[in-house]
């Protein structure tokens, strides 16, 4: 539905909660999450689909939220980092990142956790290649990536 000032009404689910907002259709999903819905767990890194910091799940698939216009989101189910833990219980991936030092400065962490959660949904027992491919679109400049790799292996054992 288009409104007078070129905004449109978009209805979608975020972390299992229905949201209806008026928004310019080319607004980035990343900006809508952070600025309109105040879900600031999703980070902006490069803003051009290179780094994966803004990774969220749309209908169960990981995407770069900086590359998705909100006009394509009507009816979609979005999962952000805020929707990964259940109540006070961290997801096994989050706990493993803490235990293995997989999170350092924290900018890549939300996207890295979502990519890892999605990886383990697709490959419950991933090979080393599966892990490397699953996280290849998420860049980390602190850990050297090995601690993140170890976190994913730990999460498989603990889940």
């Amino acid at each position: 539905m288009e409104t007078a000032n070129n905004t449109i009404q978009v209805t979608f689910m975020v972390n299992s909660v229905s949201k209806t907002i008026d928004v310019y259709p080319m607004a980035r999903l990343l900006d809508v999450l952070r600025e309109q819905l105040l879900l600031t767990g999703t980070k902006e890194g490069c803003g051009e689909g290179e780094c994966g910091a803004c990774t969220v799940l749309i209908d169960g698939r990981i995407v770069n939220s900086c590359l998705v216009p909100i006009g394509q989101i009507n009816g979609a189910q979005i999962t952000t980092i805020e929707g990964i833990a259940s109540d006070d219980q961290l997801h096994a991936v989050q706990q493993a990142f803490i235990d293995c030092g997989g999170a350092q400065c924290g900018i890549c962490t939300p996207g890295m956790v979502l990519a890892a959660v999605n990886l383990l949904e697709r490959y419950p027992n991933p090979t080393e290649t599966d892990i490397r491919n699953g996280l290849a679109g998420n860049l980390c400049r602190c850990t050297g990536c090995m601690k993140i790799f170890e976190s994913v292996v730990r999460a498989c054992k603990n889940k």
Binding site: E2, Y24, L67, G71, N74, G134, N138
Partner: protein, 289 residues
Amino acid sequence: MRAYIPDYQLTTPTTLAETLALLASEPGLWKPFAGGTDLMVLLETGKLSHRNYVNIWHLDELRGIDSTLQHVTVGALTTYTDVQANTILRDEFPMLCQAASETGGLAIQNRGTLGGNIVNASPAADSPPAFLAYDAEIELTSAQGSRWLPYQGFHMGYKQMNMRADELLTRIRLTRSKQALKHYYRKVGTRKAQAISKVCFAATARASGHKIDEIRIALGSVAPIPLRCVRTEGVLRGQVVDQSLIETGKSELAREIVPIDDIRSTKDYRLRISENLLGDFLSSIAATS
């Protein structure tokens, strides 16, 4: 500088027919918007000059992979992820799956589409060389109807395509080979994931012993368009692979491609790599036949 978002329109017609009617209403005013993995990068950097887009992402009839005895037909909105999951494509058109797996990372592969990769018309795109080496055909659809044309020749110059403003790329058709083909695909980039190609090389061949019966060669990032190298194919077809033929092929390829220096690589490196990849491909024909 970032774009001013209220300046942009992204309208979502319900059906393909409505989409085609909109494209025809004032040709050139509206442009299709699929997975957005190229257009949104331009938006963020303030370089997206066109303002009015028609969203086609939800048009499921433009998705999916169908096969007959002769052909495999791929919907234009099929994503790189969908391509890699398809058994027939993996078995018979492995270069397409390899191109899909080496484009961006998983998050890009979940959104980027094959149709978008073609009509974005980047000479550095990874799937066009594979489509050219498989001699693909493409379907363009407008409110007046559909037409099929060979993909080779579709790109006429940098970002110039043989299609009208009221047409939408809807399907891509691949002919299934009854005979065993040699497939050779190599993307050369700075790193395995996310990198844009310095050179992308795709080739198929059918050989009897060391004699090349049929050969198709296409390269990306070495010309203003994804380039089918028909002159190089011409000096190789019907010939027996030996060191002399490899050198002849390399020399012809060096005359046929027009690489440049840019942010990702240099003319000299691209030329050397292209020649070496052709040499490696031809050597592999000799080794396996």
